[in-house]
């Protein structure tokens, strides 16, 4: 790891100036991806701005029919939250399945979505539930937020503050994890909410995507049977040592059916 200037601001304003003033700065939330990336010298920022001192950004609250999760809320807190379990149990289940207990003790929702790893779990939940990402500059719909592999709509000096999840009538997440890392080889989040049925897929492609054909089928008949015969094209899906593109395409169908069954 190359050395860097370490800054730990005590307020959001101080964090905004620190990142804006840095030559090549990186924001750090839990550091579960950034620290391994620095170790491998895949990144060598001049400054690391640690958001760990911003206690105001951590916490979970109910707001009408939504659950609002602060950007610095750790996965373990989402998994254990009585509010999340009551309102969107699928989201608590998803958080419980991220990495391992030590990763869940440090990793945060804001860090995960800002990184937008193609195999991360949270992007599928945000897109399927129609979540809104609030930042220091604006509000973004989840679908506009995730723009590509490790790419988001965030500007360099923009900091995520919280994520707003509308509750859903039915929702579930099914993932086929990599047995070593627990990252999703394929993960499918299915939600039936105010604006219809959404099926969001992570792990399979360069970034989270929706499957319109499945959504239409489930809108008419919300059951695993409705998905019989619907296949996803392997074109443009990821292929690596863990799984080939055609296997991932197959898994999308299997995980979608499991998610619908789990959602009831």
């Amino acid at each position: 790891m190359y050395d860097f200037e370490y800054v730990k601001p005590g307020s959001l304003d101080a964090a905004k100036s620190a990142i804006a003033g840095a030559e090549d700065g990186k924001l750090m939330a839990g550091g579960m991806t950034l620290i391994p990336t620095l170790k491998q010298r895949l990144a060598s920022p001049s400054d690391v701005v640690d958001l760990g001192g911003l206690g105001d950004l951590a916490g979970i609250r109910k707001d009408g029919n939504s659950i609002v999760i602060g950007a610095m809320t750790r996965h373990a807190e989402v998994a254990a939250s009585a509010d999340v379990k009551a309102a969107i149990p699928a989201l608590a289940d998803l958080a419980e399945g991220i990495g391992d207990p030590q990763v869940r003790n440090r990793g945060t929702i804001g860090g995960s979505i800002a990184n937008n790893d193609p195999a991360a779990d949270y992007p599928a939940a945000l897109v399927a539930l129609g979540a809104t990402v609030r930042t220091t500059k604006r509000e973004l719909a989840a679908e506009d937020f995730f723009t590509g592999m490790f790419e988001t709509a965030l500007e360099d000096d923009e900091i995520i503050t919280e994520v707003v999840f509308p509750t859903a009538e039915k929702a579930a997440y099914a993932k086929f994890p990599n047995p070593a890392s627990r990252y999703a080889i394929v993960g499918v989040f299915v939600a039936k909410g105010g604006d219809g049925v959404k099926v969001a897929v992570t792990g399979a492609g360069p970034a989270v995507f929706r499957v319109a054909e499945m959504e239409t089928a489930l809108s008419g008949n919300f059951s695993a049977d409705a998905l019989q015969g619907i296949s996803v094209s392997a074109d443009d899906l990821n292929s690596d040592i863990h799984a080939g593109a055609d296997y991932r395409a197959h898994l999308v169908g299997v995980m979608a059916q499991r998610a619908v069954k789990a959602a009831g």
Binding site: Y2, D3, K8, G31, I35, L38, G52, D100, N105
Partner: protein, 155 residues
């Protein structure tokens, strides 16, 4: 260089570190607390697990500067004099180790589990050990040890 101060095993310590110094390097190289091991150094194996403010964390994937002001417990902080912590004793009694390299991390992780779940089932223990790898035992006796350790911790 930055100055960090933290409480390790109940004792306040300070030291000069680079921004990039890992918590595990601070513990092992500067504090000479070599019970915390570095196995993979890629946050997968769990040999470096310590408690930071009461929660288990992989000290190879945390900067020492992040732990400034924190309360850290390592494997050295568990025994009271010659009396092993009940979880340590359970690992010894149940043959929960062979080479012993993963054991400090296993024990620190196990104690965090019992803090959350006083009476974990075998499945819950196995799920919790997702982030701790053992190359010797096949895990069976580790799971047995943690069950016994949890029972002893309940008193």
């Amino acid at each position: 260089m930055a100055n960090v101060t933290m409480t390790i095993n109940g004792k306040q310590v300070s030291g000069e570190v680079e921004s990039r110094t890992l918590l595990v390097e601070f513990l092992r190289d500067q504090q000479r607390l070599t019970g915390t091991h570095v196995g993979c150094d890629t946050s997968q194996c769990g040999a470096c697990v310590v408690h930071v403010n009461g929660d288990s964390a992989k000290s190879c994937t945390m900067l020492a500067v992040q732990a400034d002001g924190a309360d850290v417990t390592t494997i050295e902080g568990l025994a009271k004099g010659d009396d092993l912590h009940p979880m340590q004793a359970a690992f010894r009694e149940n043959h929960g180790l062979q080479c012993g390299f993963c054991t400090p991390g296993m024990i620190m992780s196990a104690i965090d589990l019992v803090q959350h779940n006083a009476d974990p089932s075998e499945t819950e223990i196995r799920e919790w050990l997702e982030g701790n790898i053992c190359r010797c035992t096949g895990y069976h006796n580790i799971v047995k040890s943690i069950k016994a350790g949890a029972e002893a911790m309940r008193g």
